[in-house]
């Protein structure tokens, strides 16, 4: 359909198993201050039944990407280019009516803050039953029974009475469980979880993460798990995509990336994060500066203004030429493979112990 005219747009293989493939996605918002390039040439794949973790800081475009997958962006101010292929169907060009049939059915979503993401005006049971009735044509009674079944599954005590409670009568963790029940009620093939545990306490987060993993086993859904927390990603994901300034900067299997990261930004993230098992005698190694504005992103590699290693790249390639993200396990950086390996072993790895 779309001809890839820009050489800098990445190409990734469309594996036979890839259930969702995003190709050269570009999302722009027009705002009063100008055009925000929220996502700029992003490609990734999600395999059936697997979990893709997307990690990045605020403004990296990770949440926007996933709202776009479901077509939940504001069509008046947003332009979307590229392809979002769900089992071969391009969601970018799919009309709203068709998207409605996919949402909550084939693709469901869990949001960060269950208090604001659930409507305060309707009972939890009704909110869970609604998509089930819409997508399966079930009766009110059937949908209610299904809601109770789902609440039981996600561990809500006394589901038969709590089904008639309103969200504010639930505690934070219970609300997120109800949200999960709502997302899984139609047995979706893909679940998009956007920072689902960020608003929760750590002991509750652990419960919810384990619950998601166990439910994934049972339901067989693929998951796109969006977070800023590498620890959570390490626990949840099979594959990992690191995003920065609307682009993917590193991709690979989650262990590969965490064991031997290849992008200076990933290095920075890992070494600026204190860990329970880490040394306390040496200071953290933060990434200097702040994330770039998406109104006016840096030229070339978007990370170059904050990159400590750009001197090792000959010429001014970092500020002029956008490094491509290769296929499979890859990092979008101009450093050579040897340079990356040497820097990681000499300078980064010792800090991670």
């Amino acid at each position: 359909m779309t001809t890839l005219t820009k050489t800098e747009g990445e190409k990734a293989p469309t594996g036979p198993d890839s259930f969702l493939s995003v190709r050269d996605l570009r999302v722009r918002f027009s705002t009063e201050d100008g055009i925000v390039k929220a996502v700029d040439g992003l490609s990734f794949d999600v395999e059936r039944g697997k979990t893709l973790g997307i990690v990045g800081e605020s403004g990296s475009g990770k949440s926007v990407t996933n709202l776009t997958v479901l077509g939940l962006h504001n069509p008046k101010t947003t332009t979307v280019e590229g392809e979002i292929l769900l089992e071969g169907q391009d969601l970018v060009t799919t009309p709203e009516k068709e998207l409605e049939k996919l949402r909550g059915n084939k693709v469901a979503m869990i949001f960060q803050d269950p208090l604001t993401a659930l409507s305060p005006y309707y009972t939890v049971g009704r909110q869970i039953a609604e998509p089930y009735m819409k997508h399966t044509g079930a009766s009110k009674k059937e949908a209610r029974d299904r809601a109770i079944e789902m609440l039981t599954k996600v561990g809500i005590p006394q589901p038969k009475t709590r089904v008639d409670d309103y969200p504010h009568q639930f505690s934070g963790g219970m609300r997120q469980r109800a949200m999960i029940a709502m997302a899984l009620v139609c047995d979706p093939d893909l679940l998009i979880a956007d920072e689902p545990t960020t608003a929760l306490d750590v002991t509750v987060q652990a419960q919810i993460l384990d619950l998601l993993k166990d439910l994934q086993q049972e339901f067989g859904s693929a998951i796109i798990f969006i977070t800023h927390d590498l620890g959570v990603i390490s626990d949840m994901a099979d594959d990992l995509l690191v995003m920065y300034s609307g682009r993917a900067v590193e991709r690979g299997g989650v262990r590969e990336v965490l064991r031997e990261p290849r992008h200076p930004y990933t290095w920075g993230l890992l070494s600026s994060m204190p860990r329970l098992g880490g040394s306390t005698s040496q200071p953290l190694m933060p990434i200097p500066g702040s994330p770039p504005s998406l109104l006016n992103p840096p030229s070339g590699c978007p990370f170059h203004p904050r990159c400590t290693f750009k001197d090792q790249v000959s010429g001014d390639r970092c500020s002029t030429e956008r490094p491509p993200l290769g296929e499979g396990r890859a990092a979008a950086c101009h450093l050579t493979a040897e340079q990356k390996q040497t820097i990681f072993i000499d300078k980064i790895q010792p800090r991670l112990r």
Binding site: L102, R103, F111, P120, Y166
Partner: protein
């Protein structure tokens, strides 16, 4: 819920007592002899004394106040006869029971306010919803623009313009006139249509803008996005999720507008020469007819308090968080 109602009603009684006391004593700070006013020119001292006794003005002010207030609950006896509860006393001017004159005028004011309310709620909220649904389109711009122009009008300005257009120059409609709702509903409707529309226009503009902005705000709420993410139809999301949330600020403003609506009715009565309670209130304060002023004040206060309780009940209906806490 019952406890809530009892609490609110108790509060209402206290507030009405305070309003009554305030009006009463404020009136007596005016150095005027009401009996002399009532007696007229060339009044003999004997006459004056009789009138004073009849009106109860010979007793201390506190006793008068007490008799007035207890009359509301228990009724009072006057030379004219027994005034049964709720008794608001006897007019200094006409000698009629105040309650009777209020009840006589009440249907008109009620028709004006309720009719105006219904019209501006339907028009205002409806066009606001339309503008929010069609946000950014020509429809939105027309609705929003019109509402800004209309909201700068006043009843006493818009009234004569409408009268001039529809009554005096073209004769499409007759001059507004009061008819009985039960006996001639058609005439009642036509007779009050112009006042309604004029009164409602000013409020409509305000409610259009408000419902548009609260709707747009609600549409950005996360739970509205969740509903869309579940695959619910846009129209369903709009009316079931966003609309429900935008009712809360609308009801709040409506509660505060109730007194504005009543004063709007007063201005409307004057503009269209209709004899309602507003008219009664203004006339009575011009002639220093204390019992009538008191009566109208308390009557009006009672309605505003009642409506405010209804607004609170509406909150509980709309938002379960209010209901259960």
């Amino acid at each position: 819920m019952l406890q809530f109602l009892i609490r609110r009603l108790t509060g209402a009684v206290v507030i009405m007592f305070l309003i009554g006391a305030f009006t009463f004593f404020l009136f007596y700070t005016v150095p005027q002899d009401f009996a002399a006013l009532s007696c007229g020119k060339n009044c003999s001292p004997e006459n004056l004394a009789v009138i004073r006794e009849n009106l109860g003005l010979d007793k201390p002010i506190t006793t008068q106040f007490w008799e007035f207030m207890s009359g509301i609950v228990a009724g009072r006896d006057f030379p004219q006869g027994h005034c049964s509860a709720p008794c608001l006393g006897v007019s200094f001017e006409s000698g009629e029971f105040v309650w009777d004159s209020i009840i006589d005028r009440f249907p008109l004011t009620l028709s004006l306010t309720v009719g105006g309310l219904v019209i501006f709620l339907i028009l205002g909220l409806g066009s606001g919803l339309l503008a929010a649904w069609k946000r950014g389109t020509v429809v939105d711009k027309i609705v929003s623009g019109t509402s800004i122009v209309l909201s700068s009008f006043q009843i006493y300005l818009l009234g004569p313009i409408v009268l001039g257009l529809l009554v005096y120059s073209t004769g499409i409609m007759e001059f507004p006139k009061e008819h009985s709702f039960t006996e001639e509903p058609g005439a009642w409707f036509l007779g009050l249509l112009i006042p309604w529309v004029v009164m409602a226009t000013i409020f409509t503009a305000q409610y259009t803008r408000m419902s548009r902005s609260t709707m747009i705000e609600q549409l950005q709420e996360e739970h509205v996005r969740t509903a869309r993410a579940k695959g619910m139809r846009q129209r369903y999301v709009f009316f079931r999720y966003a609309w429900r949330g935008s009712l809360i600020p609308i009801v709040t403003i409506l509660g505060m507008d109730l007194s504005a609506l009543l004063s709007g009715a007063v201005v409307t009565e004057f503009t269209f020469d209709l004899a309602g309670i507003g008219r009664l209130a203004v006339d009575s304060s011009l002639t220093k007819d204390l019992p009538v002023t008191m009566g109208v004040m308390l009557f009006g206060a009672f309605f505003i308090l009642l409506l405010n309780i209804l607004v609170d009940l509406a909150y509980a209906y709309i938002d379960p968080r209010v209901r259960l806490s």
